[in-house]
Each structure stands twice: as structure tokens, then as C-alpha cells.
């Protein structure tokens, strides 16, 4: 066992890579939930984005087209959710589950024949002198475009929700849809747009996994990242900037677990006890810690939840 072989610079650099997909999916879902809609289909939209992006990037040879396709793919799937919940007034929890089940099946279906191949490389911006800063340079400034895009989206969403009129309308629709409707705002239109944005972000997050992080296609390759993104929204108590910390926490856990596996750590010394460590127990750690964090946050965070979260809106109500 050799924990010292894990370099902190590389650890943080890979933490940023590992946290980007959940960050993207979570910020999208945050906007959706702030508009008062609970879309549990994040996992389905992510995996659909992952395969759409992969196929297009591979067929065209251009990662940019792949990224665009992943956004469209995720948004297209979320459109089904929008139609079901906003026009057919279906239960949001059930529709979200349906989206996840369908997305997993559909992606495996169209992704058949794309396993075991490598997609084209995504280029990274050259940030010049910034990369030469000792320690920080390698950690922060040698990433691909999508990492910086994810940060900008979070920043923009934060500004949008806090300082713009449209952001205020979106929040009003989420807090109390009847009042927003009475004030003349188009509740359904705002929600459909929010859902599409959430779908696009989730799709992009999925593509980040299949095009950059892994980079390959495998059935069900998101492994619950979409669900973790949902948990992060609760963790962030529906505040955009806190998504960063949530995503870093879970990204960090994933990376740490992978590094421990790679370093061949077989037991943990807890002063008196030696706990034998199997790979499986390391793999389950992020999920267990998600539960723990949810428990710690839920008592306080739920008071921040948007007032109309998960409720269907119909004029007659």
C-alpha cells in the first residue's frame, strides 16, 4: 500500500474532470426545480446525451458536433417529459422515472456497435502563461473547453436567477404558480423552457463522460451520476454557486476511490481496527456518502425548496 504515490496536483486536476458531468447535470436540474418542476429523468437524459454525442462525434470526426448533438439529444428527451407533465399533466415523479428507464434502454439500443471504439479527441484551449504557474497551472488551467463552459454556466445561471427579470419570473413560477399565473406570466411556457435547458445540460454532462472522461461508450456508463446530480441540488439547497462545492465533494470522492484502487490499498488502519478493503466497498462509498449528506442537509435544506416543486399546474386549480 502506498498512498503517498497519489500526487495532490493530479488529484485535484482529475477531481475537476470527475466533477464536471455532475456539475453540468445538477445546474440544469437546479433551474428546472427552481421553476417548480421535479424531473427525475436526469440519468436518462445524461445517458442519451452521452450516446448522441458519442455517435455524432465518431461519425463526423468532430467533437464539437458531438457536443452539440448531446445537448440536442438531452433536450429532445426532456421535451417528452415537458409534454407529459406540462400538457398532459402527468405525475412528475412517474414521468421522470419513465424518462430514465426509456433513456437507458434507448441509448443501449442505438449505441449497439459503438462499444470499444475511441471518439475523436477534444482539444484544450492554450491558456499560455497561466499553465506555467507552479502548482496551480497544472491543476486549473490545463483542462478542456467544457470544464470552463461548466463553470461559466453556473456563474451565468447564478446571475440570471438573481439579477435578471426573467430569472425573477422563473423563480416566481416555481414558488407559487397560481400567483405567477394571476400576474400574467406564462407558467407552462417558462417551465417548458426550463425543462429543455435542464435536458440540454444533462445531455452535455453525459457527453462529457463518453467523450472526455472515459472516453468510450458502454451501456449504462453513467452509473447513477444523474441521481447524484439530483442529490447535489438538494445539497446545494437550490443555490447555484453551491452546486460547485457539491460537485467537487462527489468528484473528489470518486477520484479518491479510484486512486485508492489504483494504489492497491487493501486495508484502512483506524488506530485499533484494520478494516479489510475490497474494491466493491470503495465503489459504494460515493453512494453511501450521498445518503449521509442528504440526511445532514435535508432537515435544513427542505425549507429552501421551491414552493410549487413537483406540482402540476392547471388553470382550473
Amino acid at each position: 500500500m502506498d498512498v503517498s504515490s497519489i500526487s495532490p496536483t493530479l488529484l485535484i486536476a482529475s477531481l475537476i474532470v470527475a466533477s464536471t458531468p455532475i456539475m453540468l447535470a445538477a445546474i440544469g436540474e437546479l433551474v428546472v426545480e427552481r421553476a417548480g418542476v421535479l424531473n427525475l429523468g436526469v440519468e436518462g437524459m445524461m445517458i442519451t446525451g452521452a450516446i448522441c454525442g458519442f455517435i455524432v462525434a465518431y461519425e463526423t470526426g468532430s467533437p464539437i458536433y458531438g457536443v452539440i448533438a448531446s445537448i440536442l439529444g438531452g433536450a429532445a428527451l426532456s421535451l417528452i417529459f415537458a409534454i407529459l407533465t406540462q400538457f398532459f399533466l402527468a405525475n412528475q415523479v412517474a414521468s421522470g422515472l419513465a424518462l430514465t428507464l426509456f433513456g437507458l434502454g434507448f441509448s443501449a439500443l442505438i449505441g449497439k456497435g459503438y462499444t470499444g471504439i475511441t471518439p475523436p479527441d477534444m482539444s484544450s484551449p492554450n491558456l499560455g502563461f497561466l499553465t506555467e504557474i507552479p502548482f496551480l497551472g497544472k491543476m486549473l488551467f490545463e483542462h478542456d473547453y467544457l470544464v470552463y463552459l461548466a463553470f461559466s454556466i453556473i456563474l451565468l445561471v447564478s446571475i440570471f436567477l438573481r439579477y435578471t427579470r426573467q430569472g425573477l419570473i422563473l423563480r416566481a413560477v416555481g414558488e407559487d404558480h397560481s400567483s405567477a399565473h394571476a400576474l400574467g406570466y406564462k407558467v407552462i411556457r417558462v417551465r417548458v423552457l426550463a425543462i429543455l435547458f435542464g435536458g440540454g445540460c444533462a445531455g452535455l454532462g453525459g457527453a462529457y463522460i463518453s467523450l472526455i472522461r472515459v472516453p468510450q461508450w458502454a451501456e449504462g456508463m453513467t452509473h447513477g451520476a444523474g441521481w447524484i446530480a439530483l442529490a447535489i441540488v438538494v445539497f446545494a439547497s437550490w443555490k447555484p454557486m453551491r452546486i460547485l462545492f457539491g460537485a467537487w465533494l462527489f468528484g473528489g470522492l470518486t477520484v479518491l476511490q479510484l486512486n485508492l484502487q489504483a494504489a492497491g490499498v487493501s486495508e484502512i488502519n483506524l488506530i485499533l481496527f484494520k478494516i479489510p478493503l475490497q474494491v466493491q466497498y470503495l465503489t459504494m462509498a460515493p453512494y453511501l456518502i450521498t445518503i449521509l449528506v442528504l440526511v445532514l442537509m435535508s432537515a435544513r435544506a427542505l425549507s429552501n425548496a421551491p414552493g410549487s416543486l413537483g406540482k402540476s399546474f392547471h388553470v382550473s386549480d
Partner: protein, 377 residues
């Protein structure tokens, strides 16, 4: 003719016919019963189109999937499989239906199923090779308790800390999968298995095997219990106070609170019951059709059962029918895979589509459509 003419004309046409929804005071019974049928028909059409895009003859594909397993020449082999595959789906879906009725979203049945199977199989492996008639009942007990305990985690976290049960129950599926993998290559591995992952095969251990009860039917103890529970749940939901309480809580949590129903009590009971049933389903699977604890032992029954519960309208008898139909899609999917080379995932997409149509059509039972020509705006 500039670029905006066409959208404008389309917008005019849309506005010519105004369709509005009017809420029904009570869900329509006719539509509630009809929507599953309609959803199945629409899924067949959409599925046929999907197969066409994949370059297969849609009629042939649908025949292979839905007709041949029951009426084709190999039906003597596939018909028993129908009950084998339907039993776990029905057992799990029955438990989920009572949760969903009360507005409690247990979506981690897959995890409860795995833990039930592990607990049941562990009891059997602990007694191996001792033979006794008490072993199988003990396994059933262990399987039920295993699933119950796994479901109690989200239940207690929800009641004590108000933690979202959807996310917790789902996270526990991934945890259960890792426990399964760890045990399959560790503690429960067959010592005579030449180092391959997987436990001893319980089918070869007479006291622990959940064998076919009547030759050629596929019916094992799980099937008998599933049907028994369906009848039991029918009585429970329609005659027993708990049935009324779950329904009331699902429809109006506030009204339920005022009438003295404790929401926490209901969460513990409903989640516990559904966990127990999922655990039992896992036990019957591991001791019967599957035979051993191994990596990837679970095949997603816990998730498909969600569709079964909705397709069966959260009604026990409906769930039995829906479970059989879903079992048919599994078998038909395998057949289509062998004969037509359709990918296995096609069936999953098919099942997801079915749920989409079902949810969309639900609007018919809760709302009335009102058509008007030329909306005066």
C-alpha cells in the same frame, strides 16, 4: 412570401381549433380501465415504427415478440417461462402499488430484491449440506426480513430526518449491487467452484431449492405466493382500514392528517411491506430460476416492476395482468434477439415507451377535453 409567413399560418391554424382541458370532479372509471389497453396498442404501433427504423419487418418483429411465445411452435418451452418471469414482477409491483398509492416513492426495489436474495441464500448456504424441511421456510423468512431491513433505511431516514426517500432508496440499489458483487467473489463463493465467482447452486441442494411445483407450468413457490398476495392485497386495499388510509394519504395528505392518520406510520408500513415483498421475490429467484448468488444476478425486475405497478393501475388484479404482459415482453425480447438479431435493449426502450403512453393517456381519466372551433381571444 417572407420567412415568417409559414409559422404565422401554422399559428392561425392552431388557434382555429381550441382544445381545453376541464378537470373531472372524479377520475373516470371507464378511462382508467381503458388507458392501459390503449397504451399497449400505441406502444405496439410506436414500437413497430422503431423496428422499421432499425431495418426489421415490424409485423414479423411484433409477431415474434408477442405471438410466438404463447402460440408459436416453441410455446411449450416459453409458456412456463411466462409465470417464472411474471412472479417476481408481480410480487414487487404489489408492494410498490401500496407505496405509490400513499404517495411514497420507493424506487429502490431492485436493491431490496438483491438483499432479500442474499439473506435467503446465506441461510441456505449456512445449513449446507444438511437436509431438513425447515430450511426453505427459514430462507423465506430471511429473504423477507432482508428486503424489509433494506427498505427500512429510507423509511427511517424519511421519518426521522425528512430525507427524500426517492434518492435514498435509489442510492441503496448501487450499494446493494456492490455488496452482491463482493459476496459473489468473497464470502459466499462456492469453495468447490474452481475460483469462479458465484455461490453454490441452490437448485442442487434439495432442501433449499425452489423447484417447479407442477411439471410444465413453471409455477414455483414464488408464483403461488405472488398470486396469493395479489388476492390478499385486493382484500387489504378494498376492505381493510390500511387500504383506505393509503388511498386517502395519496390523494390528500392534509385531509389524511386531520383524520388522524400518522404519515410516518404509513411510510414505515408501506415501505416495509414493499421491501419485504421485493426481498421475497429475490429469494424465490435465487433459490429457483437463477439458482445462485453471482455477479449481475439482478436483471432489473425491481425497475420493470415500477412499470408493472402503473400499467396495472396500482390495482392488485391489474398488476397480475400487467406482470404477465411484461413477462411476455421479456420472453418475446429474448426470442426476437435470437431469431431477428434485435438488440436486447430494444425491450427496455419498449417498456419505457409503454410507460410514456400510459402516463400521457392518464389525462383522459382525470380531465375532459373540450373542443371549440375558433377561440375568440
Amino acid at each position: 412570401m417572407n420567412g415568417r409567413t409559414i409559422p404565422r399560418i401554422m399559428w392561425l391554424i392552431i388557434n382555429l381549433f381550441s382544445i381545453s382541458l376541464v378537470k373531472r370532479s372524479e377520475p373516470s372509471k371507464t378511462w382508467t380501465a381503458l388507458t392501459p389497453l390503449l397504451a399497449v396498442i400505441l406502444t405496439m404501433i410506436a414500437g413497430g415504427l422503431l423496428f422499421m427504423i432499425l431495418g426489421k419487418d415490424p409485423f414479423l418483429a411484433l409477431r415474434v415478440m408477442f405471438w410466438d411465445p404463447i402460440f408459436g411452435e416453441m410455446s411449450f418451452y416459453f409458456r412456463p417461462q411466462l409465470l417464472v418471469k411474471a412472479a417476481p414482477l408481480i410480487l414487487i409491483a404489489l408492494g410498490l402499488s401500496i407505496c405509490f398509492r400513499a404517495g411514497i416513492w420507493n424506487i429502490g426495489a431492485e436493491g431490496q430484491y438483491i438483499i432479500g436474495a442474499i439473506c435467503g441464500a446465506s441461510v441456505a448456504l449456512a445449513f449446507y449440506p444438511y437436509e431438513s424441511v425447515f430450511i426453505f421456510p427459514l430462507m423465506i423468512l430471511a429473504g423477507g426480513i432482508g428486503g424489509w431491513v433494506w427498505a427500512m433505511i429510507p423509511a427511517l431516514l424519511r421519518t426521522k430526518f425528512n430525507t427524500n426517500e426517492i434518492l435514498v432508496s435509489l442510492m441503496l440499489v448501487y450499494v446493494a449491487e456492490q455488496i452482491l458483487n463482493s459476496l459473489a467473489i468473497g464470502l459466499l463463493r462456492n469453495p468447490e467452484g474452481n475460483g469462479f465467482p458465484g455461490s453454490r447452486n441452490l437448485q442442487d441442494y434439495a432442501s433449499a431449492s425452489n423447484h417447479e411445483l407442477w411439471v410444465g407450468t413453471g409455477a414455483h413457490w414464488g408464483v403461488v405466493l405472488a398470486l396469493g398476495f395479489a388476492v390478499g392485497f385486493y382484500i387489504l386495499l378494498n376492505q381493510h382500514l390500511l387500504g383506505f388510509q393509503t388511498k386517502l394519504t395519496g390523494q390528500s395528505p392534509r385531509a389524511a392528517k386531520f383524520s388522524g392518520i400518522s404519515p410516518n406510520f404509513l411510510i414505515v408500513i408501506c415501505l416495509g411491506l414493499s421491501g419485504m415483498l421485493a426481498g421475497l421475490a429475490g429469494l424465490f429467484e435465487v433459490s429457483g430460476p437463477s439458482g445462485q448468488i453471482t455477479i449481475g444476478f439482478n436483471v432489473g425486475y425491481g425497475f420493470t416492476a415500477i412499470i408493472v405497478a402503473f400499467l396495472g393501475r396500482l390495482n392488485p388484479l391489474g398488476i397480475v395482468l400487467a406482470g404477465l404482459l411484461m413477462a411476455l415482453t421479456y420472453i418475446g425480447g429474448e426470442l426476437a434477439q435470437m431469431q431477428l438479431g434485435l438488440p436486447a435493449a430494444a425491450i427496455q426502450a419498449f417498456q419505457g415507451m409503454l410507460l410514456f403512453f400510459l402516463l400521457a393517456l392518464d389525462v383522459l381519466s382525470n380531465y375532459r377535453f373540450k373542443f371549440r372551433f375558433w377561440k375568440a381571444s
